[in-house]
Amino acid sequence: MAESNTKPKFSIILFSGTADKFLPLGVLSDAAAAMGYEVGIFITGFALLGFTKEKHTLPFSFEFKDMAPMLEQGMKATNTKGWYEMIKEAKEIGDVKVHACSLTAAMFNLKKEDFDPIVDDVVGAASFLQLSEGGQVIFI
């Protein structure tokens, strides 16, 4: 593996709280970890509800609701893992951190201990900007 100070960075801001958008989060995080990227995931807004200890059933995007069964069947047919399993795997094979947004956490009355252990810390926007500086950032 490349030295830590030369590792390329890949950061994902996940704002959406729908199940379909958690899938690319898992796929890209796992792939980036496998490629040796340092991966930073910033979860904010409705996405926080997917990361709490208390498990919420994530809704499907409204505009694609009719296609939900098709996606579920397709995931089974292609042996695609669930997003949570992919993030866990990414954390095992690479340098992957999950940062929860402190502002929206406060809005939903969520504290560090309310989050699944997959979440590394609760930070503000300034921390994430600094952590992701110099790398690729995508917003989902």
């Binding site: 593996m1 490349a2 796992d30 792939a31 496998a34 490629m35 042996n79 795997e89 094979i93």
Partner: protein, 77 residues
């Protein structure tokens, strides 16, 4: 001569084969060869990207009737 490491990622879809490859890579040393079996057609492009990024060498990518066989030479750890 290094070791030959075999990875069977048949039936696994993106990014599965690359994840399985990276797991084998973590336990490899320079001089080892990894033989990766996969059925996801995306693996052919992805393995090239992986090799460029991690500075390793693809020796061959062979389409067989039931699988894709990729031989990777570990040149960087």
């Amino acid at each position: 001569m290094g070791n030959k490491i075999f990875v069977d990622a048949r039936g696994s879809s993106c990014p599965g084969p690359i994840v399985e490859l990276s797991k084998a890579y973590r336990n490899s040393v320079v001089g080892d060869t990894i033989e990766l079996w996969a059925t996801d057609p995306g693996v052919k492009a992805d393995v090239n990207s992986w090799a460029q990024k991690t500075k390793n060498k693809i020796d061959s990518i062979t389409d067989q009737t039931d699988k894709i066989v990729i031989i990777i030479e570990i040149t960087n750890r």
